[in-house]
């Protein structure tokens, strides 16, 4: 069972949220890796091959939309499901999320139970 554990890459520059999400996913039996800026996210996504990526929009060095687009437009990584989290609840953001190929999109603050069930859905696909 332990070698089959799903790996979640959590990308956020808010240390508090990273701690909370890490605890949440670990308690639900996931393995967690963390990236704190866009470039680190891209690097870790490519090297660690995570099962799902939780991606914030506003990130240092490279924003989440760009990270998502670079992964989704690359055949090698496009199958990794990406769930975008944004503190901006504007239509533009959701549209952007769709345009760059994000698999799901949630607005902060989110309901943890919903987040977990959506992640499960993404892993099922």
């Amino acid at each position: 069972m332990s070698e089959n554990r799903n790996l979640v890459l959590v990308v956020d520059d808010e240390e508090d949220l990273v701690i909370a999400l890490k605890a949440r996913f670990q308690s639900a039996g996931y393995e967690v890796e963390v990236a704190r800026d866009g470039l680190e996210a891209l690097r870790k996504a490519r090297t660690l091959d995570p099962d799902v990526i939780i991606l914030d929009v506003m990130l240092p060095k490279m924003d989440g939309f760009k990270v998502c687009r670079m992964l989704k437009f690359d055949n090698r990584y496009s199958r990794i499901p990406v769930l975008m989290l944004s503190a901006r609840g504007q239509e533009v953001d959701q549209e952007m999320g769709k345009k760059v190929g994000a698999d799901d999109y949630m607005v902060k603050p989110f309901d943890s139970a919903k987040l977990m069930s959506r992640v499960k859905e993404l892993l099922g696909n």
């Binding site: 808010e14 508090d16 949440r24 308690s27 609840g89 959701q94 769709k98 603050p109 989110f110």
Partner: protein, 577 residues
């Protein structure tokens, strides 16, 4: 006591004096003439008839000449008076002109007089103050060179309206001499010649850049603040939820209960931020609906599911009441869910523990009516309209805050209004309240994209992907007509230059047929437009997009035309009823 008017006496006196003087002179003259004619041989004792005649003639001549002199004097006086009047009025004329010139030059707004081709004829002093140009360098030049390219269509449309005798008001952006953009609020009025023919237009333009900037600043601020507020809330909520779920060890009942209150209040704060952001967007008409074709019943069931637990905590009985036939309708699920949550939140708050709340929907003619019904405290009838009024709420914020209805209702009604629906309440104090809203039952608009270049068609299709329209495509004129007849789209985006049958011909054919003549058309062109052929398509303005067309422009025009089509269809339905 009134003084008797003595002026007439003086006048009579002066008249008779002149006449008497002349008569006297005339008599003397008669005497003299008589004496001379008698050869200076007077026979004084003899009274001759001749004398009498001479004296009489003299008197008459004197009398007449007296009257004549009087008449001349009067005429002279009249003439002087007239001359004086003319002099005075000429002076007045000069000052009136000065006054208008003054008004023109010192008006607070830019005033521009243009000829029928839109060239500058005259501008006032404010032109330089606000736009930074010398007036002289613009006289004879086109008004359209003064404004930004994006505003040209607006300006031309309104200028035509003015030349037809209208007086439109509109906003546009002008380019300052220094290169910056100046937002102008314009009021046009026609300039007419003596026969009443319109020969040009006068534009009075006010600089509204500052208020525009403020608006923008406010919007940016709210958007930024909402982002900044959400970030810490997210972390707070997540930690509370981790504790509740026992990730950091088991909690006792009270600890869990209190943390759930923390969580609920964080959610409430997040909703308030949502509403604030939405309201700022609504005020600037920036809410864009992301409509999709969905089963409304499913959405309602989902909301009920989400709130079941919260209702159970208050021992409230939350039920769902769906009509038999729930149509799939076109709406923005996120926004409508927000409305439902606002209404449900209020219902739960104003219904005592153990109360009943019902979520429901049914079909009602061409609309779908949904409701949130409670058996709570109810609302006084004089407040039935007031609770939807955001300004009222802001002013009486505290009072309403205690009553509980926040910005939520104003925003909810706005969202429903944007869907072309209505929202109202039925309620009695002590008997509970039912909040209703209606949504029109409509289908996703159908758009036909026509271009002989398949890559471009693909690109236009991509532009429209986020909007969930039903998109059909055609790659030549014949195919376009075939598909338009078979599918009757709401809008055709039509390339003009195509082999065999060009866009103008396609438009002509569409117009000939009963089924397709109501379809709206947007033109795509790489060349200039043949205005006459466009005009032949009908009284409707045909928007034209110049290639290469940007995504924003494309989407904006398509959305605008689809809205007009929707309005026409709604009007048609009303007329048909």
């Amino acid at each position: 006591m009134k003084q008797p008017d003595l002026r007439w006496m003086r006048r009579e006196y002066s008249l008779s004096r002149v006449v008497m003087e002349n008569t006297l002179v005339g008599t003397c003259m008669g005497l003299l003439v008589g004496l001379l004619l008698r050869g200076c041989l007077p026979q004084l004792n003899q009274i001759n008839l001749d004398w009498v005649i001479f004296i009489l003639i003299g008197m008459i001549i004197g009398l007449l000449s007296g009257f004549e002199r009087k008449r001349q004097a009067q005429m002279e006086k009249k003439k002087n008076l007239l001359e004086k009047e003319v002099r005075e009025s000429r002076g007045a004329l000069v000052t009136t002109e000065d006054r208008y010139k003054n008004l023109f030059d010192n008006a607070n707004d830019v005033i521009m007089v243009l000829d029928s081709d839109g060239r500058f004829v005259e501008v006032n002093g404010k032109f330089r103050d606000i736009l930074g140009y010398e007036a002289a360098e613009w006289l004879g030049r086109s008004f359209y060179d003064l404004i930004t390219a994006a505003c040209r269509d607006v300006a031309i449309k309104n200028y035509w309206e003015t030349l037809k005798g209208g007086a439109p008001r509109f906003e546009l952006d002008a380019v300052h001499a220094g290169g910056s953009t100046i937002n102008l609020a314009c009021a046009n009025s026609p300039v007419r010649d003596r026969e009443g023919e319109v020969i040009g237009a006068m534009i009075i333009a006010r600089d509204i850049s500052e208020s525009k900037n403020l608006e923008e600043l406010q919007n940016r601020f709210i958007s930024h603040a909402s982002h900044e507020l959400r970030t810490p809330l997210t972390a707070m909520r997540e930690f509370a939820s981790l504790l509740i779920d026992g990730v950091a060890g088991e909690l006792n009942e009270d600890q869990k209960k209190y943390l759930e209150r923390v969580e609920a209040n964080i959610d409430r704060l997040a909703r308030i931020i949502d509403n604030l952001l939405l309201m700022s967007q609504a005020e600037q008409e920036k809410i864009v609906l992301d409509k999709r074709q969905l089963d409304f019943g499913e959405v309602l069931a989902q909301v009920k599911e989400d709130y079941q637990a919260a209702a159970a905590k208050k021992r409230q009985d939350l039920t769902l009441n769906l009509g038999e036939e729930m149509p799939r309708i076109l709406f923005d699920p996120d926004r409508v869910i927000q409305v439902l949550i606002n209404l449900l939140g209020n219902a739960m708050k104003f219904t005592p523990d153990g109360g009943r709340i019902e979520l429901g929907a049914r079909r009602d003619g061409a609309s779908l009516v949904a409701w949130v019904k409670d058996n709570g405290v109810g609302i006084k009838s004089e407040d039935h309209e007031r609770i939807f009024d955001r300004f009222q709420q802001i002013r009486d914020g505290h009072k309403f805050g205690r009553k509980g209805a926040g910005l939520g209702l104003a925003i909810s009604r706005e969202i429903i209004r944007l869907h072309r629906g209505e929202m109202w309440v039925e309620s009695e104090v002590g008997q509970g309240s039912t909040f209703y809203f209606s949504l029109p039952i409509t289908q996703a608009p159908k758009v036909l994209l026509v271009d002989d270049d398949p890559d471009l068609v693909e690109m236009y299709k991509d532009f429209l992907t986020p909007y969930h329209y039903r998109v059909i495509t055609a790659y030549n004129g014949e195919e376009a007509i075939r598909k338009a007849v078979a599918e009757v789209p709401d809008l055709v985006v039509l390339d003009i230059v195509m082999p065999r049958m060009n866009g103008y011909e396609v438009m002509g054919r569409l117009r000939e047929s009963q089924t397709t003549c109501g379809i709206r058309v947007v033109i795509l062109t790489g060349y200039g437009l043949d205005e006459k052929r466009l005009a032949a398509y009908g009284d409707r303005a045909i928007p034209a997009l110049r290639k290469p067309v940007s995504m924003n422009e494309f989407v904006k025009v398509v959305q605008g035309e689809l809205e007009k089509r929707e309005e026409e269809l709604l009007e048609g339905e009303k007329a048909g009823e």
